[in-house]
């Protein structure tokens, strides 16, 4: 009787798992319907429109809100720029792969959408970077570790499933990771910092926004290495040579920064800890 029960329950469990696997497979196969609105065929020739090219599937920078409108940190900024500079704001979702084509044909005036400068420095005319999405290495200030090479034989930790761990698993970092004594994972960054503080580990790999937050609150207990694990800054990209429009945007965005509007907009996206990632302050005198 006991045996029969065990067999039956095992079978039930096996069937259940099969069912779930089948469901998850079919779900991933169905093509996601495009939520992007119908493309606007009008040309941009009309004066005083400012067309922002963006990827509508890149929250919080640009995405489709529950009510079907385009929303996002970058779009809010662009909208504010337009109202100040007297442009008509036009968000234009683009296929990210054909962004160069769109920009060069003049279909869009700029790409303002969490656009990574790093590695593309010479391909576009850039504004100053306004968001820093780098991953940095934090150590105790008394540890004597000042560069990546010092991490040889040390214990390094990152949050499980975070971009820091993803970065460490990349090919280019294989050599570095090999030099560690071990690479540990923590459930959340708070426990990561507790491990660092109490000397369980030597170094924590963490998003720059989180690092900034902890460094500001720790009274010099930690330092951030100058060498970053990965470096990524976002700026607004214009067609190469279009410095006139770039300068105008920079001027207005600087004003927005100075009167606090910029940070107010960033604070609307605090769920994404955007406000800690804003690095514009470093570039405006």
């Amino acid at each position: 009787m006991k045996n029969l029960k065990t067999v039956l329950s095992t079978m039930f469990l096996a069937m259940l798992s099969l069912l779930i696997v089948a469901c998850s497979n079919s779900a991933s196969n169905t093509t996601t319907e495009s939520t992007v609105a119908t493309e606007n065929k009008e040309t941009i020739a009309q004066k005083k429109t400012f067309t922002v090219g963006f990827d509508a599937e890149y929250p919080p920078y640009g995405f489709v809100d529950d009510d079907g409108t385009y929303k996002g940190f970058d779009l809010d900024l662009a909208k504010e720029f337009c109202s100040r500079a007297g442009y008509e704001f036009k968000p234009q979702p683009i296929d990210w792969d054909s962004k160069d084509l769109e920009l060069n044909q003049g279909n869009i005036d700029c790409i303002w959408n969490g656009f990574t400068v790093t590695g593309r420095e010479n391909d576009y005319t850039w504004t100053f970077p306004y968001v820093d999405n780098s991953i940095v290495l934090v150590v105790r200030s008394d540890s004597g570790i000042t560069k990546k090479a010092d991490l040889a034989g040390k214990i390094v930790m990152g949050q499980a499933g975070s971009s820091a761990i993803t970065a460490l698993e990349e090919e280019e970092n294989a050599e570095l990771v090999k030099s560690f004594k071990s690479l540990e994972q923590c459930a959340d960054y708070n426990s990561g910092f507790m491990n660092l503080e109490s000397g369980m580990i030597d170094c924590l790999a963490v998003d720059i926004g989180v690092a900034k937050f902890h460094l500001n609150n720790a009274n010099g207990k930690y330092v951030q290495l100058d060498e970053k694990l990965s470096s990524e800054q976002y700026a607004i990209g214009f067609k190469k040579g279009n410095t006139a429009l770039r300068d105008e945007v920079e001027k207005v965005v600087t004003e927005m920064w100075k009167d606090g509007t910029f940070m107010n907009i960033a604070n609307n996206y605090s769920d994404y800890s955007l406000s800690d990632m804003v690095c514009l302050g470093d570039y405006i005198k």
């Binding site: 779930i20 499980a160 540990e184 426990s191 109490s198 369980m200 580990i201």
Partner: protein, 217 residues
Amino acid sequence: MNNIVDIIFRVLNGAGASSIIFFSTIIFSLPLGLLITFAKMSKIKVISYFASFLISILRGTPLMLQLFMWYYGPYYLFHVSFGLKWRLPAIIIGFSINYAAYFAEIFRSGIESIPVGQYEASSVLGYTNVQTFTKIIFPQMVKRVIPPVTNEIITLVKDTSLAFAITYTEMFTVAKQIAASKTTIIPLLVAGIFYYIFNDIVAFVMSKIEKSFNYYK
């Protein structure tokens, strides 16, 4: 298919880490639990109250918090750092002491369920207190506490996943990590099946033990 085999092997690796916690906790917590039982049943009031207090703390606070205490306590309370090698000892101490508190109460219920007439009978037969306990009371107590102890042990198997709170990578954490990196829920299912099989084995072994203690019938 290769993928699934790979997942199973990686989760199985994590199962090793979970087993270390499981077996160490069983080995240390059962005798420790009996010790706490004696303390609680002691005629010396101070010891008895202390044992009651200990049990109330251990059962009244989350195990996760107790793990934090053992792991981070030495540094944050005394500024002593043992480094990462302290992690496994901290986990085993935390789990063992916590489970000992539960076992202590189970053992006490077992001991107190033995009718007072048996004590009288053994005293009439000239048994000393120690003999009464080891020869008469203890064997009957063991028999009676096996079902509730089995309950606790099965809970322990599942509780091992709490160890990740202090960054110890056990089976469930491994499964979650693979699930995150491969964006599939299969590792979680695999982990679930492993827990189930493990607990089935535990239940089977315990029922065998229960049968083998089927004396006095």
